[in-house]
């Protein structure tokens, strides 16, 4: 048990130290023109995150991401369940979902902008599209692989369909569904940020693009590290939850 805790923890720590050393070395090579050292970045972010101009942008991105995630989970799960419970429907739609999964979705963003206008709703829609497909694909596969005996037992006990889904399919497919939700979480975040970077008036992605125009290297470094760090930590937490969920079944 102790190895289980120290092993991954030690690895993550080594990795973190390694990345910091690499960053510092890169800074020494490139210099002040294009990079800042880890310490400078941390000091700058400390100042910037307490300044009044940071919070509205963070709130905007947070709200867009939150809404997109709620939509992605709701729509992804409903698509996944309705396709997963019907063999023929999933045969019809799975290749379409896989094809959409692999295309550069950014090309669709101008269409969303024209449809929703330049505001939070286009960003939310774009983030949600990124998240819906993996959640739907994983849920579909998970629901399809639930053992038939369970479903038969439910039918024998005359559970109504909603009860059967809530009490049998959902718990049985949970670990795999959670894996989909984890990937959906990351992709929704990526989609939301991508939307903000391409065309937006507010939010962290906008701030990042704006910083190029101003050649504000401090801000670029700080935001990049903040976003990558948040995504990395969130994903690591979800991954460990996922592993625990899988170990339970």
């Amino acid at each position: 048990m102790s190895r289980f805790i120290t092993g991954p923890f030690r690895n993550a720590l080594t990795l973190l130290v390694g990345l910091l050393v690499l960053w510092q070395a890169l800074y020494w090579v490139v210099g002040d023109v294009a990079l800042r050292s880890p310490l400078q970045t941390a000091a700058f972010m400390g100042r910037f995150m307490t300044s009044p101009q940071f919070l509205p942008h963070l709130a905007e991105t947070g709200r867009a991401f939150g809404l997109a995630l709620v939509l992605a989970v709701a729509i992804g799960l409903s698509i996944g369940f309705s396709l997963g419970l019907n063999r023929f429907m999933s045969d019809v739609f799975e290749p379409v979902l896989v094809a959409v999964y692999s295309i550069p979705k950014i090309t669709l963003y101008p269409i969303l902008l024209l449809a929703f206008g330049l505001g939070i709703s286009a960003k939310v829609a774009f983030g949600a599209i990124h998240g819906i497909i993996p959640i739907a694909l994983f849920t579909m596969a998970a629901v399809r692989s639930v053992r038939k005996v369970y479903l038969k037992t439910g039918r024998v006990l005359r559970l109504p369909p909603t009860e059967a889904i809530l009490r049998i399919v959902l718990p049985a497919a949970m670990p795999e569904i959670f894996a989909g939700l984890r990937i959906g979480f990351s992709l929704t975040l990526i989609g939301t940020l991508l939307g903000e970077m391409f065309a937006s008036q507010r939010g962290l992605g906008f701030l990042l693009m704006n910083a190029i125009g101003l050649h504000n290297v401090d801000l670029i470094m700080g935001l990049t590290v903040l976003l990558a760090g948040f995504a990395g930590v969130a994903s690591a937490v979800l991954l460990s939850l996922n592993k625990r969920l899988q170990a339970r079944t």
């Binding site: 023929f88 995504a231 690591a236």
Partner: protein
Amino acid sequence: MTRAATWRTLLLLGAVAALEALCLAGVIDRITMQPPHKILIDLWRLLASGSLNRAIAKTLGNAAAAFAVAMALGVASGLVIHRFRRLRDTLDPLFATYYAIPVFAFYPLLIVLFGLGDAPQIFIGAMLGVVAVIVNTLNGLDRVPRVLLKTARVNRLSPLQTALQVTLPCAAPFILTGAKLAVAYSLIGIIGAEFIMSNGGMGYEISFAYTNFDNATMYPLIVLILLVSITINIVIARWEKRILARRGLA
């Protein structure tokens, strides 16, 4: 064609027809969307005029460069990481969370480092693809039968010879899976970067047309990119299936 495939085709055709009807009836106005038949006519006109050739060549060329870098770096790193257990354990958390990190957030930084040219785009494309290649290479190397490695040792092959003649060919189907992902990722990386900020390429042309409300150029380009990426993905998926079938893996 199977029954599912027939239904799929019919449904997709129905969706396009519905879009056409909605556009022609004026439910979706012309500023938002063009009717599909007009998009196809515009696409043909654009391709025939040759005005897009440079953008297409630039995008596909950069994507190919990003793919080549991702493959070379990914397979080489995979071979090295596979030999050092400790290094692999350390890098594992990075690989597990890598695709959760918004790689495009690094694009501004790369522009500052390399300048606004092809280099930061290729870098982003390669960065997106390389980890998929590494992970799949490691996966393939894990499955090389021990007896083959012993045979290599008996025949006194050097580490390089062992890699080239034994381990890599043996791990090839898995590396191909990585390659398939790397193709998709390098296209996504290049086009995404062109969208955000660049001075040429298909993504740039779309974003340029978007800012000019030039729907007659924007929609055909979007359709073209979708067609190109879907075609490439289908071709590679077929190829992968054939190779896996030959090895008896699928």
